[in-house]
Symmetry: C2
Subunit: 113 residues, 2 copies
Amino acid sequence: MGEESSDRADALFHALADRTRRDILRRVLAGEHSVSALAANYDMSFAAVQKHVAVLEKAGLLTKRRSGREQLASGDVAAVRSVASMLTELEQVWRGRIARIDRLITPDPDQED
Amino acid sequence: MGEESSDRADALFHALADRTRRDILRRVLAGEHSVSALAANYDMSFAAVQKHVAVLEKAGLLTKRRSGREQLASGDVAAVRSVASMLTELEQVWRGRIARIDRLITPDPDQED
DNA sequence: CAAATATACAACCAATCGGTTGTACGTTGT
DNA sequence: ACAACGTACAACCGATTGGTTGTATATTTG
């Protein structure tokens, strides 16, 4: 694994490690929302929400599109899937362990012990 | 979503948001390793690695088992899967959006427009 | 028993985080 | 033209993070 992909993984998991950001991501995956429309849902300043949106954008979890004076945010499902695939890869590492244990318990009769 | 499950999600994603911890998790998913055996792989103090292991343990991503003077860490694949399912749920939210757009483009002929 | 090993934890430090307020700037509507 | 709106960003602040060193406590080994 390269330095870049680790940086990206860091950014993705970090972006997801905040409930406000996960909630914003859920909303923008469901549909486009302006930053101020998103901000209206939370008990914090507009600037705070705007920073959360910026973190999600830098991680690649959402993209923005200008529409007049509004900035419409939309969730990127491909980025969500890329995180899921990292976890699947970890699960595969675990499967390898189980396979090794299995081979130890029930050795292949064709194989020398 | 409850307060507790959000706390747990925070802890899980935060634990995964560090490349050293992801590497440790990969190793302990592949098999049991003592804390000092893990520490030998990284260019940082034993205490630093021990803290990383503690973060993973608190998040429920690994468990420890005492064996003499060693503490053997083992990855918990169920916790990894629980994170994956959170992402799947997010993907489902996105599918709902696509379904709505689809219904708009190709309205069901049985349904009034 | 004494020395070495494995772990845990406290105290400390610089950097980052999540929030705030204030300011600036482009766009819209009157 | 000007007031209101939507956004971006800087400066600041307390809390947390990821690292350090040092100390304490079991457990093994000679």
